[in-house]
Symmetry: C2
Subunit: 334 residues, 2 copies
Amino acid sequence: MLLVSDLGEHALLERIRSRVPPPPPWVLVGIGDDAAVVEPARGSVDVLTTDALIEGVHFDRRFSSAADVGYKALAVNLSDLAAMGAAPRTALLSLGLPPALSVADLDALMDGLLELAALESVALAGGNIARSPGPLWLSLTASGAVRRRRVLPRGGGRAGDELFVSGTIGGAAAGLEALQAGAAEGAALEDCAARHRRPVPRVRLGRLIAGNRVASACMDLSDGLADAVRQVAAASGLGAIVEAAAIPLHEGARDWFGRGGRDPVDAALAAGEDYELLFAVASRRRSRLATVRRQARGLALTRIGILTADPAVRLRKADGDRDLPAGYQHFQSR
Amino acid sequence: MLLVSDLGEHALLERIRSRVPPPPPWVLVGIGDDAAVVEPARGSVDVLTTDALIEGVHFDRRFSSAADVGYKALAVNLSDLAAMGAAPRTALLSLGLPPALSVADLDALMDGLLELAALESVALAGGNIARSPGPLWLSLTASGAVRRRRVLPRGGGRAGDELFVSGTIGGAAAGLEALQAGAAEGAALEDCAARHRRPVPRVRLGRLIAGNRVASACMDLSDGLADAVRQVAAASGLGAIVEAAAIPLHEGARDWFGRGGRDPVDAALAAGEDYELLFAVASRRRSRLATVRRQARGLALTRIGILTADPAVRLRKADGDRDLPAGYQHFQSR
């Protein structure tokens, strides 16, 4: 089996470069120079984000193929662009490669990444490879464009704005747990596992929300719904009430968390990796939200609560209100 | 001693954010949202690059302080922007943090990075932190701006263009070797050690070369002079002759490599981490080069050879010509 350590840096770079399709015309200089050169999108501002995946922290090669890992590394970055309302344009890939990684796995990783790049019209414009004496890691930077007045801030909410979330909640975390338990069986849990392996960044939704000027605030759920509600409320200088019964639990998450005797809503609120969007909508923007709904191709947009002048962040259940649990914390063990 | 693992992700991010100065007005959204939002520079194209430093591969904490590491992580990226002729604007920092890293070291790392950012007017506009089960690593992305017709390509050389290199060669590698041998003593070798720890990106020179339209091709020497000559020649579809006697060896490198019985020129040609610029100048641009020299504040610009129609890349010594040695290869051990 050919390993990364069997090839020199130039041969590895050439191998990666050969898999990358020709760039669009606005990439003036792509892979192979000291830096990429990109024509800015006219009438837009640049949106830039970076996020990393590390073996043993963010993925486990027993549950995710190399192609899944490449796909997800781009997906989590595109999710951040979606949360700003930006159209993705370019990505740069920084790789830490263990010498014992097979070249076939490196190829598959690139193919997974490039599969999503093609779907979302992202040009891989450059990158870097380095030898990693520890685990495999991928750090990506994605850039996108949005018209200046359409940028979706995290902290623009007003008291009384309603909170909406896209899609379903808790699926990715339930999927990972089920994979770890060797029990990701049945359609609902298989879908959860797929959501862990290959999250769907809500790029189209983010652009619709921005283009229709629906939202006063928006962020993605990389660190879970509870964390996102807290962040949006805090950045807006507000509190929030979330209605437990309204949270759109993933069917597989309801099943899985329930099996373990946990409250599925509490578990899903604290679960990371749901790359859905949370956004706040003023009541006078309700008609615009209807427009977005029509254009969202069946993606659920669920009202889960409201921003409040009272700075407390509360979860409303049938038996009363209590503090919303904390979100997922990367530096604590799970 | 407070460790990274003693703090949650939000506390770490807040700690980092508190050290970052307020951004310039063209950073519309900085650290703390899903992504950064940057106003493009008017009349310019965007230049984007990414490069990483990994503990045990690119730095050794016995020889480099945490502040040195932060400084260098930005410096190596700015060197890539310099090679394109771009003025740096923003940086994004992706960190892989071992849980046992001290918070004091994280603070120092940020301070070193921000020291260079302030010197070069770079805004740290965003980033990401993740737990690393292996070594400490930093992956940076830097963006800059240059007028479209001023971009310095790697492959624009013509046969007969003369090759110039800035500064001196071999210092950083000699410095690292001397540090490893516990012998980095005396002014020349101490300067070599400093060049390993805190390379000076030739940002100002790159902008002068681009602004005066001096060069037909340019790249930086991250992987050594021999590699750079090969890359510029290959990208231009040409060969090259390098004159050994003309290479501006760092005084400490001449001393150090000579002590080991090596040919100092051969050792310096193959040595990485000289973040100088190599550029090609057509004879009709000689008067412009004189202008750049006057503006370069005493930085040496030395003619070391010529691009040739013959595709061979040769080193000319007193006793005849031979193939230029290969450059530094990251995936081979040193």
